[in-house]
């Protein structure tokens, strides 16, 4: 079956658990909410969970405002994730609570851009709060799941989405989080090694594998190609692309 026919089966129902609102001029990448929606329409992505690009590279508060604007403009297309810079301590936690009260569905963390390991005391306050409020934490992971697994050890009741599935070290990432039922693996990254989705499904079960794109950095074709090209059942593809992320909408 041609790749376009494969995509056609899921078009209009796909949920992206990992994207951003906001451009990144370091790479000349366009990421306004209007543009992201245009791209989503082209690929048949129904809903995207988004955090702010500016939250990572400039000011977490500005990024959060961008996301709020996008959610208000496209309430049926975007689900907000609040970004917290842990160095801002109580101010960051206040920002987190405020956006969660306004309907955001999760907390985005990034150990690299904030130059702080997830296990640092400053980050642990964020995770404690997220666990208390019963919201998932989306954690950037390019270290083979090392940091994520440490957090999962500390907070067994906290739901963690391991963004990028551990990155280049995706095999390690998958194996490392296998024992934590509260950790989900999200597949986006430039890495498109054949077999990576199959391995994630084999080790974690397809219920714990989530579809993500990482716009404006990556094109939806990258992650869609991984799932559509994976030698897994149609049921598994359906779950990864369209169903598994629904549980995060009900938070």
């Amino acid at each position: 079956m041609s790749v376009l026919s494969l995509l056609e089966e899921f078009k209009g129902r796909i949920i992206d658990i990992h994207s951003h609102i906001g451009s990144d001029q370091r790479f000349l990448l366009e990421g306004s909410e209007d543009y992201i929606v245009k791209v989503m329409n082209r690929y048949g992505i129904k809903v995207a969970f988004v955090s702010g690009t500016h939250s990572l590279i400039a000011d977490f508060r500005v990024g959060n405002r961008h996301v709020m604007r996008a959610v208000k403009k496209y309430p049926d297309r975007f689900v907000g994730l609040v970004s917290v810079n842990p160095y801002y301590k109580e101010e960051g936690l206040k920002e987190m609570r405020r956006y969660l009260r306004m309907g955001f569905k999760g907390v985005k963390t990034h150990p690299v851009y904030f130059n702080l390991p997830l296990t640092d005391e400053l980050y642990l306050r964020v995770f404690e709060e997220a666990e208390k409020l019963r919201v998932p934490v989306m954690a950037h992971s390019y270290d083979g799941g090392v940091e994520v697994s440490k957090v999962a050890d500390l907070y067994p009741n906290l739901t963690i989405v391991m963004y990028h599935m551990g990155g280049i070290k995706w095999k390690e990432g998958i194996e490392r989080v296998k024992k934590y039922d509260n950790v989900y693996a999200e597949i986006s990254s430039s890495v498109t090694d054949r077999g990576m989705v199959e391995k994630a499904v084999e080790v974690l079960g397809y219920e714990r594998v989530l579809f993500g794109v990482d716009m404006p950095y990556l094109d939806p074709a990258v992650s869609l190609g991984k799932v559509l090209g994976a030698e897994i059942s149609k049921e598994a593809k359906e779950a990864i692309l369209c169903e598994n992320a629904l549980k995060f909408l009900r938070v």
């Binding site: 079956m1 041609s2 790749v3 376009l4 494969l6 995509l7 370091r26 790479f27 000349l28 990448l29 366009e30 990421g31 791209v39 082209r42 690929y43 280049i168 430039s190 890495v191 498109t192 090694d193 054949r194 716009m215 404006p216 950095y217 990556l218 094109d219 939806p220 074709a221 990258v222 992650s223 869609l224 190609g225 991984k226 559509l228 090209g229 994976a230």
Partner: protein, 240 residues
């Protein structure tokens, strides 16, 4: 629409089979240009390329030569064997040679005018440390105007360099096999033109569906899509 995949690999560890070709055909790849990966990992090029020729002949594929200028009498081998291949693929990072060094320049001088493009492979695996720079390829392209250079393995992190160095060089092309940025195909069409973009998938290393979708779903005209999917590579590889 016809599709010619410029970046399909085979190796001792992973031979290409008729099953692979059937699979590629089923998802929309009509024609395949084949290169050996073993040269990147130090197998002697003569042996690797002979295998490429054999497989290409048996399966009706387009053979590309994998070339390592650091091997003894490399240029002699190149000159005597070039007629059998449609392009020369080099792995400067893996074979640890400088693109702008005199050794490789003498190689290029010897093939300038032969009408054979040079594919410069920036990376093979995603974990590879990339030592090749867009700027270096463009420097060569300015010096050797009679050679077409195809950059394979660039990603969106190279966008600024593509605009800065490659935009005005009509003998520099981009293969999208590892080029993952949002609307990357549209970006390339806008910055360097649709005639300088070619479709590669890096099969069987990467999921080929990703590259196919990048082109098939790109917000470009049908003429531009056809150029990227087929016409440009056909022209570059002198296929009729």
């Amino acid at each position: 629409m016809r599709v010619l995949d410029i970046s399909v690999f085979h190796s001792l560890k992973r031979a290409l089979t008729t099953h692979d070709l059937k699979y590629l055909k089923s998802i929309g790849v009509d024609y395949v240009a084949l290169s050996s990966l073993d040269v990147a990992y130090s197998e002697l090029q003569k042996k690797s390329n002979e295998r490429t020729l054999k497989v290409a002949k048996e399966m009706k594929l387009v053979p590309l030569m994998a070339f390592n200028p650091k091997e003894k009498k490399a240029n002699d081998y190149l000159k005597s064997s070039l007629k059998n291949f449609k392009a020369v693929r080099v792995y400067p990072g893996h074979n640890q040679f400088s693109l702008t060094g005199e050794e490789f320049k003498s190689t290029l001088a010897s093939i300038e005018g032969e009408g054979v493009p040079v594919v410069v492979q920036f990376r093979v695996k995603w974990g590879d440390k990339v030592t090749v720079k867009v700027e270096e390829v463009c420097k060569l392209a300015r010096e050797f105007r009679g050679i077409n250079f195809i950059m394979s393995g660039v990603n969106y992190s190279d966008n600024l360099d593509i605009v800065r160095f490659a935009r005005k060089l009509d003998n520099v092309f981009v293969d999208i096999s590892y080029y993952q940025g949002l609307s990357g195909v549209e970006f390339l069409v806008k910055e360097i033109g649709s005639k300088r973009v070619v479709l590669g998938t890096a099969y069987p290393i990467l999921y080929p569906e990703s590259s196919l979708l990048k082109v098939l779903c790109a917000d470009i005209s049908e003429d531009e899509r056809e150029e990227i999917a087929f016409n440009n590579a056909t022209r570059l590889l002198s296929l009729t």
